[in-house]
Each structure stands twice: as structure tokens, then as C-alpha cells.
């Protein structure tokens, strides 16, 4: 997994690429920290460049969302396509995290 973060106005946009699996747990923590410590109240996780996601990867998205909610911020997922879209459709993650 790789990611880039850019801030514009009140939105923090994090683009994640590669494969999001159990092994990325440590690196994903830095994204969670960005969400918790940043000034922005809106967070967009762009999953458009993720090739594949496993259950631990979904868990990380849940963790990021939980962090945002606890900090009274809004998190949403974008760029949901390919394998990620299939997993999210099957597991109805849209009922837990807003998807735009």
C-alpha cells in the first residue's frame, strides 16, 4: 500500500494505492493519525488505485471511519471500483461508511 494526502480547504483527501491487506496495518495507522490530528472536518479516502482488499483492509477502513466519527468528522469513500467495489457490494460497507 502507498498513499498520498493533500489538503484543500476543509477537506483532507487521501489517495491509497496498491493492495490493502493485513501487512499494511502499521502504515495505515499513519493515515488514521492524519485523520485524528488534522484540522479538516471532511475526509475523503480515494480507493480508486487499490487493486485488491482483504478483510483486514476492510477493517482498516472501519477503523479510519470510527476515528473520524469519534472526532466529529465526516469520512467518505470514493473511487470504489474493481475488486474493491465487489467486496464492498457483497459486504454492504455502504451501510457503515458513506460512499460517494
Amino acid at each position: 500500500m502507498e498513499y498520498t494526502a493533500d489538503r484543500s480547504g476543509d477537506t483532507l483527501r487521501v489517495k491509497i494505492s496498491g493492495v490493502l491487506t493485513f501487512d499494511d496495518h502499521e502504515r495505515f495507522k499513519s493515515i488514521v493519525n492524519l485523520i485524528a490530528k488534522g484540522e479538516e472536518s471532511e475526509i475523503t479516502l480515494d480507493l480508486g488505485q487499490i487493486k485488491m482488499i482483504d478483510s483486514a483492509g476492510i477493517g482498516m477502513l472501519l477503523l479510519a471511519n470510527d476515528k473520524a466519527v469519534k472526532e466529529s468528522k465526516k469520512l467518505n469513500l470514493t473511487g470504489v471500483t474493481g475488486h474493491v467495489a465487489k467486496v464492498i457490494e457483497l459486504s454492504k460497507v455502504d451501510q457503515i461508511i458513506p460512499i460517494s
Binding site: 493492495v19 493485513f22 485488491m52 478483510s55 483486514a56 477493517g59 472501519l62 459486504s91 454492504k92 457503515i96
Partner: protein, 397 residues
């Protein structure tokens, strides 16, 4: 109570003491033996043994294996190289062996290592060097022993836990006893990726005409997932009244998981009820990999979707239903069957799986459906898998 309790085996925090190590000193010259002995005694070593030549050394070694050997090379009857060779190759011991060698004897030094020596100490003896090297090797050896004991203990505990987890699962006989009178046959396969796993399947009675079949895949694998699987198993056997209603039952279990699991953990699930009276399967899914129904030449994909369990305080599911026919084969599986994270392009779509499922059904006589299915996909049955794998087959009679 002792003020200094003896460290127990596997206690990784206990300090390593070298002074009580049993040292076998092998030298044909009495004066050399006495010199080494007195150096070691002065350094605090208390457990010394002496051998006067190679054969004597091996005899003493066999009687009472030392913790470390200090070995001379040139000796009558059997030289140091041969002793070293015997200890390694015949006695199969990896005890540290320190060979005494003069600095100018280059060939000897190389040969000493070839024969299995752990280290060299200079001859004539340098007291400080001898003691330092001895301590180093004793401590290293004891550290390895300790890690090996620890590893062995962990393996035994994992093995015991694995047996416990396997004992939660119904045997083929128990399955037959439940499903045969209810007009179906169920074959189940489960294997954890690392002894313990987070997959769980179960089948139970709903009433005399119906049985329930369920499958869960908890996020993650290994010990964490297994502990959650044990907790989940306890939940499964509660709520007997809700068993008739797949959506309500999944919702209840999900709500319990929501309170039980950390935020990043969840489970996918499938729960179906087969009714022999009208051969219907009533089911609900929670992110379950698409169940595949094989009916003659037809392949029907069931809808296993639904919000993953344990993520919402009050989850809702949809009960779906499908009319089955005699000889229908329903296949349920965990995602380990089709996902390939090392090479995402190798991951299979449901459509790709159908052909393999057919092959699995055709060739299941040999070693079961799961074995034939995995062989069809991978070309062989692997010794280990990257994720927990569960495969269930339900055949309508």
C-alpha cells in the same frame, strides 16, 4: 519460599548463569589440564571434568554430556579433530566445542571449523580470552536452548488449542445423523492457515423437518481470530428460538458481535435453513462469498450479500429463499478459495469457480469434494494456505 527461585523452563526473563556449566577439559598434558582448570575455577566455574585423550573424552562425553568442551588437538589414541567429528556426527550433539590452537597453525584452524568446532582459543592459554569465549558460547547455547523450549511449549499449546477448535466442529457421522433424516447430505471441510483459524461452520436442528447450516469467516486469522471464533461459537448455540428466521438470527448474532469485537474486526456470515417438506432453502447472507448451486448443466448464483457482522449496533438482514430439487448441489466456501493476494490477477470470479466446482463434484469420490475442488483450482493440494479455508457441500436427496 526461596528468596531466589530457580528459573523454570521457558522463563525467558531469567538471567543466564554460565558458572554452573559443566566444562569438559581435554588435554593429554596434565600441566595443561591443571592450568585450564585453575583459570576456570578462578573465574567462578564450579563444574569441571577432565579427559586425558580423545577416547577418554568421548567416553566421558557419553556418560555425562557436558555444556561445553575445551579440546586440545594433538593427543595420543585419538586427536582433537576426530573427537570433534565424533561428537558432531556420531553423538549428534551441538554442544559448543572450543579447540586450542596456536596462532601460526593456519591449516589446523581451518580444519577445526570443518570438523565442527564452535570456536578457537589460543594456545598457550590466555586466561582472559579463554574465560570470555567460554562464557559467550555457554550463554549463546543456553539462549538457543531456552528459545527452543519456548518454541516447543508454544507449539504444544497451539496444538492443544487447535484440537479444541476442531472439536467444536461436527464429525461426518454427526452431520449425517442430522441431515440424512431431513432429506439432505452435507460434506464439510475446514483448514486453518496457521493451526488456529477464524473460520467457523456449524449445522444444527431447527425441527424434525429442518436443519440450519451456517458458515462464518472472522476477519484476520491466527490466535486473535480463533479466540473470536470460540466466542462466536458460544453465540451460535444461544437464540434457539430465532433459528427459524435467518435474517433475525443473523441480526441477533451481529448485534452481539458489535458489542464483543474491536471496531476493526467483523465477520462475514451465511445462514441457511433446508426444509425437506418442500425442499426450500431459506437463507440470509452477511458478506458471504456467492454460494453456487449446481443443478445439472445449470449453475445458479445465490445472493450472499448483506452488511458484515459486528459493525452496526442494530444490523438488518434480508431473508431470501430458493426452491431446490433432488440432486441439487449447493457449494459454500470462504474467500480463501478464490482470492490470490500475491497475484491479484490470479483471483477467480464466481464464473471461473463454477467449472472447478463441477470438477470437484465429479471427482469427489477419491478424497472428498473440497480436496477435488482445491486440486482443480491449484493443480495440487497445498501443505499450507495463506488464509483459513472452509468448504461446505449440501446435496438435496
Amino acid at each position: 519460599m526461596s528468596a531466589n527461585p530457580k528459573p523454570v523452563a521457558g522463563d525467558a526473563s531469567a538471567p543466564i548463569q554460565a558458572n554452573d556449566a559443566r566444562v569438559l577439559i581435554v588435554d593429554d598434558l596434565r600441566s595443561s589440564r591443571m592450568l585450564i582448570g585453575s583459570v576456570l575455577k578462578a573465574a567462578g566455574f564450579t563444574n569441571l571434568d577432565y579427559a586425558v585423550d580423545g577416547l577418554d573424552a568421548l567416553e566421558r562425553f557419553r556418560d555425562n554430556e557436558p555444556d561445553v568442551v575445551v579440546l586440545d588437538i594433538v593427543m595420543p589414541r585419538m586427536d582433537g579433530f576426530e573427537v570433534c567429528h565424533e561428537i558432531r556426527n556420531t553423538l549428534k550433539s551441538d554442544v559448543p566445542i572450543l579447540i586450542q590452537s596456536g596462532v601460526q597453525e593456519g591449516n589446523q584452524r581451518v580444519r577445526a571449523f570443518d570438523e565442527g568446532a564452535s570456536d578457537l582459543v589460543s594456545k598457550p592459554i590466555n586466561a582472559a580470552e579463554l574465560v570470555s569465549r567460554l562464557r559467550l558460547h555457554i550463554e549463546r547455547r543456553r539462549m538457543i536452548d531456552r528459545l527452543q523450549r519456548y518454541q516447543h511449549r508454544m507449539e504444544e499449546e497451539l496444538h492443544a488449542a487447535e484440537s479444541m477448535q476442531m472439536s467444536l466442529l461436527k464429525t461426518p457421522e454427526e452431520l449425517a445423523e442430522l441431515t440424512a433424516p431431513r432429506g439432505a447430505e452435507v460434506e464439510a471441510f475446514y483448514r486453518a492457515s496457521h493451526k488456529l483459524g477464524g473460520d467457523l461452520w456449524e449445522a444444527f436442528e431447527v425441527d424434525e423437518d429442518r436443519f440450519g447450516l451456517l458458515m462464518f469467516d472472522l476477519s484476520g486469522h491466527g490466535v486473535n481470530a480463533a479466540i473470536n471464533a470460540f466466542r462466536l461459537h458460544m453465540l451460535i448455540n444461544s437464540y434457539k428460538k430465532l433459528r427459524k428466521d435467518p435474517a433475525a438470527w443473523l441480526a441477533q448474532v451481529s448485534n452481539d458481535l458489535y458489542r464483543m469485537l474491536p471496531v476493526e474486526h467483523f465477520s462475514t456470515g451465511f445462514y441457511g435453513i433446508f426444509d425437506r417438506r418442500d425442499r426450500t432453502l431459506t437463507y440470509a447472507g452477511a458478506g458471504a462469498p456467492t454460494p453456487v448451486l449446481i443443478r445439472g448443466d445449470e449453475a445458479i448464483e445465490l445472493d450472499g450479500s448483506g452488511v458484515i457482522m459486528g459493525c452496526l449496533p442494530s444490523a438488518e438482514y434480508e431473508t431470501r429463499s430458493i426452491q431446490l430439487q433432488p440432486c441439487d448441489q449447493l457449494c459454500l466456501y470462504s474467500d480463501a478459495l478464490y482470492e490470490d493476494f500475491d497475484d491479484p490477477t490470479q483471483s477467480l470470479e464466481v464464473g471461473d469457480l463454477v467449472g472447478h466446482i463441477r470438477t470437484g463434484l465429479e471427482q469427489r469420490e477419491a478424497a472428498g469434494f473440497a480436496d477435488a475442488l482445491v486440486r482443480s483450482i491449484l493443480g495440487h493440494f497445498p501443505d499450507s494456505m495463506p488464509d483459513d479455508l472452509t468448504i461446505l457441500r449440501l446435496e438435496v436427496k
